[in-house]
Symmetry: C2
Subunit: 277 residues, 2 copies
């Protein structure tokens, strides 16, 4: 079985480094002339997949915008994940789950088990309960050829309260997460444990080149990240960066031709900014 990191690296080499978010926010549905209900959600999300899933390596549905619509929204999410599988893009489901024990096992089973209705190629997870509490997700991802992205260093101003706190080891909390991800990926070139690292956090001194896993970097375009920012944040790990753009793409919709044009433009920028691995 080929692991997530390797599958991702192959598709990025082929298509370029870009993850396009599927964030069907009510305001986007409005802009697209769609009703703010499950059928509008479905048209929006599946239009994104139809327009882009053969172009970019990864698409990232944001679960919150589906959960808003209850079980009808989650049924749409199931279909979006199936569409992505069929169209050949990897699915990175942004759920930021985190719990302990049997509950963490259940989250892993919900999103990373073969045959689960909401199985994705990778999910985001959140380590407030400690990196070790996430082990059921890391383990199941390794077994099923899937991946996880652990929240590490984010660009929102409130994040430093927790992420820049100093752990008992003397390292920052974010450094603890980075080191634990590196340990989990040990021996792999493209490991199954990725990190979420804001593209606009500036220079932090955190060494990301040790991770050997995908570094999801939201903050391109709409959030103000750019080429020089990426180099400052990621240093020698630039070839592991998976930039994420969502609103910057979606605002070109609903016309599939314009969506595709916008994604191609950003993909071109990213190709010029990031080394090909």
């Amino acid at each position: 079985m080929i692991g997530y990191g390797t599958r991702l690296a192959g598709l990025v080499a082929e298509r370029g480094p870009l993850c396009v978010g599927i964030d069907p926010h009510p305001s986007v549905l409005g802009q697209w002339g769609l009703p703010v209900e499950a059928r509008g959600l479905e048209t929006c999300a599946r239009t994104m997949v139809d327009a882009l899933a053969d172009l970019v390596p990864v698409m990232k549905p944001q679960s919150a915008f589906f959960e808003m619509h209850g079980s009808a929204g989650i049924a749409v999410l199931e279909r979006v994940l199936a569409d992505l599988r069929a169209a050949g893009a990897l699915s990175l489901l942004d759920v930021k789950r985190g719990d302990i024990g049997s509950t963490m096992h259940a989250y892993a089973a919900a999103y990373l088990a073969d045959g689960a209705p909401l199985a994705a190629d990778a999910i985001t997870i959140s380590p407030y309960l400690g990196f070790g509490s996430l082990a059921p997700a890391l383990d199941l991802a390794a077994q099923t050829g899937r991946g996880v992205y652990v929240l590490a260093l984010t660009s929102n101003p409130e994040g430093s309260q927790v992420q820049h706190a100093r752990a008992a080891s003397g390292r920052l909390v974010a450094e603890e997460i980075v080191a634990a991800a590196a340990a989990a990926n040990a021996g792999q070139t493209h490991g199954h444990v990725g990190l979420v690292v804001g593209a606009t956090i500036g220079r932090t001194g955190v060494r990301l080149d040790q991770v050997h896993g995908s570094l999801l970097a939201p903050g391109i375009g709409a959030q103000g990240g750019g080429a020089s920012g990426l180099a400052e944040v990621f240093g020698d790990a630039l070839d592991y960066v998976l930039p994420a753009a969502s609103r910057e793409v979606m605002r070109a919709g609903p016309d599939p031709v314009r969506l595709r044009g916008q994604a191609e433009r950003i993909l071109g920028q990213m190709r010029s900014m990031l080394p090909v691995r």
Copy 2:
């Protein structure tokens, strides 16, 4: 409008201090002789509600065990939340969501907005992205008479990596969360911002009496918490403690009479251990 904290305090005064978890883990479904699929999930969860929602003040469905079953599981969760509303117990939906900006707004809208398919009386939220990132949930909860429980200090051994790290203020991360919750509840006797605090964490020095919000304490029974442990952890805040028990109750099922007997027994223990507010 009466806020969540006040509504909860009223029901606890009437019924006693106990939150019963609805954790339809596959192994519980097995023990109850139910199929591990959405209809087994539904029988299990709704049996819990039928047996207990007129006895205890709060019931806490664990979202992960519903998400495992995809949209069919979420449809069951919608019905469980509606059952709880109809039966007069408060619903505390354990989802541990946490995100930023418009995504956090969407999570708030999903679980704390009037009329949302998955609206609960309260939810759990997770502050890895900083307490301030959770503001959309706190604000909407205040507006709609609902509540939030922010993860603060948990009893799992991995939790201290993040929760005991020292923030820039010189306080522990967990103390930052406690202080921020206290500030959000300022001026209220029973605020809308609760905390999740493990019942088995021992003495930490963190002052919980300043919070004036509900303190959800998992770890009764199955996780090993007891009366002396509660006093050690909560000190002068004992009258804000909402002990949570799940497996210890569910293992008495599926017979509703035995479920009710078990919950009454634990409720009696809790009444004797905790001051009546």
